[in-house]
């Protein structure tokens, strides 16, 4: 259906304007209205889910002429994988608004920034050409800049500038790659067309393919982030407000991995085969390094941030192995990590609102004062560790199993990441929830209220659902993955 795709961008944009139009004295209206407005894109997701066959690879739905003199169009389309990620994004935005405390929930700017973030992230997943991918990839910095800058923690200035400069530094490589691809496209077809169909029909020489792969992948890897380009992530997570953290971990990190899956590998496969081992090594270092650093953290939010580096390392390992199973596992792990880390950051936000501290040593014995919270936290931790029956297990198992034939040694090491994950998550749980209630303040603390439960419950249900019935989301990513896999197989078959 025409217009279906870009309405995922337009609806949040219009919602933002709408929110800004409400006068300040009706502050109590902001949040209910935003919740309502962010239900619309989810409704649209449901509509697409019910009415369209999305178990397909990427197909273009909408096309606009942007610069006709250069033959550049803005193209939007959908595939199974991008549909899943858009749904995740819309869901996480809704839930993070639900979980907001009074402070943020009554601020127009905060809600508006969340909506803008939703629009630009949706745009990345919908993009059917390099230029719109880049536009939205960089546009999402603007809402993030304000979210982190205005509502961030103590050290937010440093973290925000670091985040922006890292991402921009990566994005100039993507821009250079885009420009190079455009020029190559011009040399072969006479127009700077940058849509995916044209690019996939171009034939790159081996060296061109390698250069382009490096340009694009470097930019995207900063966003993933991969070791040693990860240093912005812990700072950004610690300083970002809860809703910002949820979206940062939940969907923003996926933007990088999505870009690699959508652009780098299918179009510049030769480059991928050249450098897949390098990426795999870095991912495994990231898995182990992230996990070890997470163990020694004293700040629970920083712990989850480092665990994100470890989990995204699994995603990158799965991608770099280039096997069907591992690629599928990587996509599923992307979704899973979005759900689990989103839930974890939300839970940390709840306790931070109550106690205004995130130091693990400030808690202890919380199980007695807030049993429901402890249960939810344990459940989410298990999902994050990868307990069979919950979602984390599915992705990690598929990745490890799939990548073993390619990188036997590396995936054996990566398997230790799962053990380390159990150590850092369960040890943190033990220190926070078990034992005696030492601190006076923690005795008076109240348990999760119904509002907070509503915010976190859908994520818990999804963890269980994906853990038990993973073939549901697998059927959506199947076609996307087989396109990527075929492109790799073709090149391997030739040589």
């Amino acid at each position: 259906m025409i217009g279906l795709t870009y309405s995922f961008v337009l609806i949040p944009l219009v919602s933002t304007i709408f929110i800004f139009c409400i006068p300040k004295r009706r502050a109590e209206l902001f949040r209910p209205l935003t919740i309502f407005l962010s239900l619309i894109p989810l409704g649209l997701c449901l509509y697409i889910f019910l009415n369209q066959n999305l178990k397909t690879s990427f197909n273009v739905v909408d096309k606009f002429s942007w610069i006709s003199a250069y033959g550049i169009n803005l193209t939007f389309g959908l595939s199974g994988m991008s549909f899943l990620l858009i749904t995740l994004n819309c869901l996480l935005v809704l839930l993070s608004i639900l979980s907001l405390n009074e402070n943020h929930g009554h601020s127009k700017g905060f809600l508006g920034s969340l909506m803008l973030l939703q629009a630009s992230v949706n745009g990345v997943f919908l993009a059917g050409d390099l230029i719109s991918l880049f536009i939205f990839f960089e546009a999402l910095l603007i809402p993030m800049y304000f979210l982190m800058g205005i509502w961030g923690g103590e050290n937010r200035r440093y973290a925000t500038i670091k985040f922006i400069l890292f991402t921009v530094f990566g994005s100039i490589f993507i821009l250079a790659g885009t420009i190079y691809t455009g020029v190559l496209s011009y040399l072969s077809s006479g127009s700077f067309a940058l849509d995916f169909e044209t690019i996939s029909s171009l034939s790159f020489t081996s060296s061109q393919s390698k250069i382009l792969f490096l340009l694009f992948t470097f930019g995207f890897l900063i966003k993933v982030p991969i070791f040693p380009l990860h240093t912005w992530l812990p700072d950004a997570h610690v300083e970002a407000p809860t809703a910002g953290s949820i979206l940062l971990a939940g969907v923003l990190l996926k933007v990088g991995a999505y870009g690699i899956l959508r652009v780098s590998i299918p179009f510049f496969t030769e480059g991928f085969i050249e450098y897949q081992f390098l990426i795999a090594i870095l991912s495994v270092i990231g898995i182990i390094y992230g996990a070890i650093v997470a163990i020694v953290q004293i700040d629970i939010k920083k712990l989850i941030a480092y665990s994100s580096i470890s989990h995204m390392g699994f995603v990158m390992l799965g991608i770099s192995a280039g096997r069907f199973l591992s690629l599928e596992g990587a996509v599923i792990q992307m979704i899973n990590h979005g759900i689990t880390s989103g839930a974890l950051f939300m839970l940390v936000g709840f306790i931070y609102d109550r106690r205004h501290t995130r130091r693990i040593s400030d808690f202890g014995g919380l199980k007695q004062s807030m049993p429901i919270y402890a249960g939810v936290f344990l459940f989410t931790s298990f999902a994050s560790i990868g307990l069979p029956g919950l979602n984390g297990f599915v992705g990690e198992f598929m990745i490890l199993m799939g990548s073993f034939p390619t990188f036997q040694f590396l995936s054996s090491i990566a398997a230790f990441g799962v053990v380390l994950a159990a150590i850092y998550m369960l040890w943190a749980y033990q220190r926070m929830f078990n034992g005696k209630l030492i601190h006076e303040e923690n005795k008076e603390i109240h348990d999760l209220n119904s509002k907070e439960l509503v915010a976190v419950a859908p994520l818990l249900l999804l963890m269980l659902f994906i853990g038990i019935y993973p073939s549901f989301i697998e059927s959506y990513v199947l076609q996307d993955v087989s396109v990527i896999y075929e492109s790799i197989n073709n090149i391997l078959g030739e040589s």
């Binding site: 942007w66 880049f134 500038i161 100039i172 250079a176 420009i179």
Partner: protein, 490 residues
């Protein structure tokens, strides 16, 4: 009118914008020194003068569609796409800057007409400059324009910085003019020619190998004189001081009009006169661009004065525009787009500055915009839009201009240049986002109080900000216009 023109042997339409502005200035002068007139009368006279000028530019399009590229007044005045584009831009700058200029002059009190006369005179000079075919005519236009600007910079006589700016601008500007006219002389020595078009023919006739050395030096000196005006490094040293010292309300006009006129002239010389020997100047231009980007980025990152920051950022932007102009037809067209997008942001930013700090002020410290968001939401948001535009964030015209420019440079295989320019955008993010942080994000105890903004200023800033976003979303029309400018050379 055409009968009259034929009867007396020349076409008045082609210089009508210049003539109109001079007449308007003379009428104002007459009213100032003879009868005491109300301000509103002078305002109406000035505004109608500007409107008539715009109409004259429109008439020139009619003439162009009739005659095509043609020269008038025995090869002194030229009518081609570059001059038309320049005319439109200068007319637009005059029109858009009318509100801040008038506001500033109003604050200056008794000197009102003086400033307006200077501005109209300088605009008439720059009209002449972009229209000039003869190099001497070009020099006359440049001088008429520049001398008025020197005076304009020092108009706030009680301000020391303003005096300093004026003197510095005058001394260095005169030096640049000397270099320019010396270059013209050398070119004349070698070919006995003055016309930019004949020059290309002469080079083609002698063949690129037999060109006398004096020509090279002459053209180089002409370029240096013009590069001074656009504040490209290493000729940038005047820009920060002049921007900082001049009355804020005038800086938007001063900065944009010089850049437009000089860039149009540089583009025409590169495209037409020296097109056969342009690659001989490649090293020279590369050095200038490299230094502009490097020096501009570095010094912009350490400024605490916002006007100086914008001046240094202008040095970087000049490097960008120059890189397109000096590398070929498509590069020139993308630079024209860039120029258009850039001056809109420049005028917008200086209008905002003049509202915040008062139109006559010279210094504009970063502290002046601390907590702007609190009480002046409109100003803060439009400021962000302009800064995002200068930084080149997608969805603004700045991104489109950078993207198109870099694409064309890459197509010309200037990979090293592209990488330098790309890296400079990263630094750009650092220094453009810093003022935004101070204006919108930083929490302050005593934010700026609600400022009084006139309706016309709302309209001006609002439309400039919307244009910045509009050209980022739908750049098609403007890109087609910028390609029309170079259509003869495609």
């Amino acid at each position: 009118m055409s009968q009259i023109s034929e009867a007396i042997g020349f076409n008045l339409i082609v210089i009508s914008p210049t003539v109109t502005l001079v007449i308007t200035a003379l009428i104002l002068l007459f009213f100032t020194i003879t009868i005491e007139t109300k301000m509103i009368v002078k305002k109406v006279i000035t505004f109608s003068g500007i409107l008539v000028t715009l109409f004259c530019v429109f008439l020139k399009f009619g003439l162009f569609s009739q005659n095509g590229v043609s020269s008038y007044f025995t090869q002194k005045i030229l009518l081609d796409e570059f001059s038309l584009f320049g005319n439109v831009l200068i007319g637009l700058i005059l029109f858009l800057n009318f509100i801040p200029i008038w506001g500033t002059s109003y604050e200056l009190n008794e000197k009102t007409s003086e400033a307006i006369i200077l501005i109209l005179m300088s605009a008439s000079g720059f009209f002449l400059m972009v229209d000039a075919e003869n190099l001497i005519m070009l020099f006359i236009g440049l001088e008429i324009g520049s001398i008025s600007l020197y005076a304009l910079a020092g108009l706030n006589r009680i301000d020391k910085l303003s005096n300093e700016a004026s003197l510095k601008y005058f001394l260095l500007g005169s030096l640049a003019s000397c270099i320019f006219i010396y270059g013209v002389a050398l070119v004349y020595v070698s070919y006995s020619l003055m016309s930019v078009y004949d020059f290309a023919l002469a080079i083609a006739y002698t063949g690129p190998d037999l060109i006398p050395l004096t020509t090279f030096i002459g053209v180089l000196l002409i370029f240096v004189g013009l590069l001074f005006k656009i504040a490209a490094a290493p000729f940038q040293s005047w820009a920060p001081d002049v921007y900082q010292g001049s009355p804020t309300g005038y800086v938007g006009y001063m900065a944009s009009i010089v850049k437009v006129a000089s860039f149009i002239v540089i583009a025409r010389i590169c495209m037409v006169s020296v097109r056969f020997i342009l690659e001989d100047f490649e090293t020279f231009f590369f050095t200038v661009i490299f230094l502009s980007v490097l020096i501009g980025s570095f010094f912009a990152s350490i400024q605490t004065d916002l006007k100086r920051l914008i001046a240094y950022s202008g040095v970087v932007q000049s490097g960008f525009i120059l890189s397109g102009i000096t590398s070929g037809v498509n590069g020139t067209s993308s630079s024209m787009f860039y120029l258009f997008a850039y001056i809109l942001q420049l005028i917008g930013i200086f209008t905002i500055f003049s509202i915040i700090s008062g139109k006559l002020s010279s210094n504009f410290e970063m502290d002046n915009i601390r907590g702007l968001m609190k009480n002046n939401r409109f100003l803060a948001i439009s400021f962000c839009v302009f800064m995002f535009g200068l930084a080149g964030i997608p969805l603004t015209s700045g991104f489109v201009s950078k993207f198109i420019l870099l694409t064309n440079l890459w197509a010309y295989e200037k990979y090293f240049l592209v990488s330098i320019l790309l890296l400079s955008t990263v630094v750009g993010f650092y220094f453009y986002l810093r003022p935004i942080w101070i204006a919108t994000i930083e929490k302050v105890d005593e934010p700026i109080e609600m400022l009084l903004i006139q309706k016309s200023e709302y309209l001006l800033i609002g439309s400039l900000a919307s244009l910045t976003i509009l050209f980022g979303l739908l750049p098609n029309t403007l890109i087609n216009i910028s390609r029309w400018v170079v259509q003869n050379y495609l």
